[in-house]
């Protein structure tokens, strides 16, 4: 079996004696896209810089296709097989052409081939006619595309993207993201994408590693991680808005969960004080007169338009949030003060051992 494109082993990074990153093991398969997701300051960018050989770790190693670069020469050779795009485009003074040609010139790429490669890459990212533009005159989106072109012109084996959409406004972000997704699908480059935006993480890759306080808390297929976050704080970060403390009792191979004013069943074995997580998208509306099921009843507190849906906030003993469509609002006659019944599949109820948040 081929070695992973990147293998991280026992990687620790300390700044002034403080450990900011500790990753015992992380593998990234060749040709795949992995998203490093985590809040600001969680160590994502540090991990990226270490994998990009732009920083030396306090301890541990990063291997590329099973080989750890041993000396400065090998490190430079490896660095030249990968490339990084940062949050800020960080374009050099000069024209778009100069920037895209920069890495090729460093590698002493023949001049006539450089011109062709630059033009092809600019066409690829949709900046074909802008080669002779001074980078100071580019818009934010154009500048980030130029930075991407500068990276792709090198035809890297590994592409590191450090929150490349962070500095873009909403329309530019959308455009850049669409372009990026198309390119990643077409090019099959091993890619590590860093973001703190969970929507972006779900869009960009099939695999995700979630970092908290310098530690990889969970890795796996992106939908699995979002469906079953490994801890309560991970659940909170990944958008599980309904988190509350409860008391669990084992009951017929399941757990009966009791919190203030509600009772639910979860398909898991748990006992004692726990934290319960209910993803808003797993809750669905039922008629208040429906027969008993795995449901909670309460009163609607607020109904707020949010994008194409409505955010329904209900008081069910504990505050719960669910998103409903405009059609549902009309069909059920939903509004503040009205009764509501929210149902959930016991398999979708998340139960964490740590009580409280």
């Amino acid at each position: 079996m081929a070695s992973p494109a990147i293998s991280v082993r026992g990687l620790v990074q300390q700044y002034q004696g403080q450990t900011v990153l500790s990753v015992p093991e992380l593998d990234i398969e060749a040709g795949t896209v992995l998203t490093l997701l985590g809040p600001n300051g969680s160590g994502k960018s540090t991990l990226l810089r270490l994998m990009g050989l732009l920083e030396k770790p306090t301890s541990g190693s990063v291997a590329f296709s099973g080989k750890v670069p041993q000396n400065a020469g090998e490190r430079l050779d490896q660095r030249r097989r990968m490339v990084m795009v940062f949050q800020d485009p960080l374009l050099f003074r000069g024209t778009v052409y100069d920037n895209v040609a920069y890495g090729l010139r460093l590698r002493k790429f023949p001049r006539h081939l450089t011109q062709r490669r630059v033009q092809e890459t600019l066409d690829l990212v949709g900046l074909g006619p802008l080669g002779q533009r001074d980078v100071a005159t580019l818009s934010g989106g154009e500048a980030q595309k130029a930075a991407l072109a500068r990276a792709l012109a090198l035809e890297p084996e590994i592409l590191f993207l450090d929150e490349p959409t962070a500095y873009l406004d909403a329309p530019a972000r959308q455009g850049f993201r669409d372009e990026l997704l198309t390119l990643l699908d077409a090019l099959h480059i091993t890619t590590v994408f860093v973001t703190h935006d969970r929507t972006e993480a779900r869009l960009v890759s099939r695999s995700v590693a979630v970092l908290f306080d310098g530690v990889v808390e969970q890795t796996g297929p992106v939908e699995d991680v979002f469906r079953r976050p490994g801890s309560a704080r991970l659940a909170a970060f990944l958008g599980v808005e309904n988190l509350f403390s409860a008391v669990a009792e084992p009951h017929n191979g399941c757990a009966r969960l009791r919190a203030k004013g509600l009772e639910l069943t979860a398909s898991t074995i748990a006992g004692g004080e726990v934290t319960v997580g209910l993803r808003p998208q797993d809750l669905y509306l039922e008629s208040p007169e429906s027969p008993a099921g795995n449901a909670v009843v309460g009163t609607i507190r607020r109904l707020l338009p949010e994008g194409a849906a409505y955010r329904l906030e209900a008081d069910c003993g504990v505050p719960l949030v669910v998103y409903v469509s405009e059609q549902e609002v009309h069909r059920w006659g939903l509004g503040p003060g009205r009764p509501v019944r929210l149902s959930i599949d016991p398999q979708q109820v998340l139960v964490y051992g740590t009580p409280g948040l």
């Binding site: 810089r49 990009g52 732009l54 430079l76 660095r79 030249r80 490339v83 990084m84 940062f86 800020d88 960080l90 050099f92 003074r93 000069g94 024209t95 052409y97 100069d98 920069y102 890495g103 460093l106 590698r107 011109q115 062709r116 033009q119 006619p129 080669g131 002779q132 001074d134 500068r150 990276a151 090198l154 590191f160």
Partner: protein
């Protein structure tokens, strides 16, 4: 005021008549200050880049020394270079005192901290992430330094201009180590001092005008180079 106009008139006259002695003085000024600036660039820019880009114990002290050197009085430099080059001095055997080479040495000492200090400031004001980006695109150590120097080329050219301006206009050091010997070590500044001392203010003003013109032309060339930011590039058909 009439004296000033007379000075201007005479300067034009001197230039028009292509005065051989004046041409020799101007050429020597340019040669001495140009060589001194070049030496300062060759030595000072790498030191400035090193001070700006590296971190080590004692770096702040060295920066303090360089910054102090930027205000070095030329006459003090002249005195110390003279002592070094005196017959009885440590470099007396070279017999360089009162030669253009001694003047170049003295002016290089004056320009070195100016070029070093401004080079250091130029690279320090760069976004530190630029270095990271260059490395991430595959730059080696030398390529990184070259990239950063290119990024800081506007302030670096300003450093060269400041170094040249500092030495072409100084009189104390060249007077002490050169001696203002007619036909050998007389430059525009020392000639101006001499003419003024002898009461020939119109000639002194004429020499000053030529000196100013020279500084202007050299700096104009550097400014044009500095402001040529964007190189034209043609799209492939």
């Amino acid at each position: 005021m009439a004296l000033v106009w007379e000075g201007f008139r005479q300067a034009l006259g001197l230039l028009w008549s292509v005065d051989r002695e004046l041409l020799a003085i101007t050429w020597l000024s340019l040669r001495v200050s140009g060589s001194a600036t070049l030496m300062a660039i060759v030595l000072g820019m790498p030191v400035g880049l090193w001070l700006g880009l590296s971190r080590f114990r004692g770096r702040r002290f060295l920066l303090g020394v360089v910054n102090t050197g930027m205000g070095l009085p030329p006459v003090v430099v002249g005195l110390f270079i003279s002592i070094l080059l005196w017959r009885s001095g440590p470099l007396g055997a070279w017999d360089l005192l009162y030669t253009p080479l001694a003047m170049i040495m003295a002016q290089a000492v004056i320009a070195f901290p100016i070029v070093t200090g401004l080079t250091c400031a130029a690279v320090q004001q760069l976004d530190p992430r630029i270095a990271l980006q260059a490395l991430a695109l595959g730059a080696s150590g030398i390529q990184l330094v070259w990239t950063l120097a290119r990024e800081a080329r506007l302030p670096l050219l300003a450093a060269i201009m400041a170094g040249f301006g500092g030495v072409i206009s100084e009189v104390g050091a060249v007077m002490m180590v050169g001696g203002n010997i007619r036909g050998q070590t007389r430059v525009l500044t020392t000639a101006t001092v001499l003419e003024a001392r002898m009461g020939r203010f119109d000639t002194a003003i004429a020499l000053s005008v030529i000196l100013l013109g020279l500084v202007f032309v050299v700096n104009a060339v550097l400014t044009i180079a500095q402001q040529q930011e964007v190189r034209p590039w043609r799209r492939l058909p």
